[in-house]
Amino acid sequence: SQTIHQWPATLVQPVGSPLSLECTVEGTSNPNLYWYRQAAGRGLQLLFYSVGIGQISSEVPQNLSASRPQDRQFILSSKKLLLSDSGFYLCAWSFSQGNQPQHFGDGTRLSIL
């Protein structure tokens, strides 16, 4: 079976500091990978998705970037965090064929001070 790991679970960072969140998937090859952000009391906002190594699609302009250095590894980064980057960050994967549902990790709660 497939599993998704996302860490850390919580993170407190000062404004202007860098960020690196990591997500890995096990049990499948060539998955589609996704990063979402959820602000308090709101729906999920799709940030990035990837259909293969080195292939990143950005859905909204922002202070964040994503990379996929390996088939089952997806990294969310920032060089300088803003207060507005606070939120709940979720990584997800889906099978690459056809219309497949997404499977989410447990998320990272990011607080910017």
Binding site: Y34, V51, N99, Q102, G107
Partner: protein, 114 residues
């Protein structure tokens, strides 16, 4: 993108059947309908997916009328642990022309009372 409309909130009592309806008037031919459940501080969990008529699994049923302009998620005999936010998504996926299945709205907040 096929836009979806769901009630913001619903209340129910333990043991009752709950039906949450989602409207998607401009659903495209290749779009599927997918429902997720989200508990506080957790990622959404896939519940059920369908294209037409009725789909049933161990957790829920999904009813889709012939015109596919709406769908109803049915949760039989809910318990307190079913209190969560439920999302309805409609789309075809990354490779198709409609990526609505990647767009999560605010969902329906279901509160189950004892």
């Amino acid at each position: 993108l096929a836009k979806t409309t769901q009630p913001i909130s619903m209340d129910s009592y333990e043991g009752q059947e709950v039906n949450i309806t989602c409207s998607h008037n401009n659903i495209a031919t290749n779009d599927y309908i997918t429902w997720y459940q989200q508990f506080p501080s957790q990622g959404p969990r896939f519940i059920i997916q369908g294209y037409k008529t009725k789909v049933t699994n161990e957790v829920a049923s999904l009813f889709i009328p012939a015109d596919r302009k709406s769908s109803t998620l049915s949760l039989p005999r809910v318990s307190l642990s079913d209190t969560a936010v439920y999302y309805c998504l409609v789309g075809e996926g990354i490779y198709g022309g409609s990526q609505g299945n990647l767009i999560f709205g605010k969902g329906t907040k279901l509160s189950v009372k004892p």
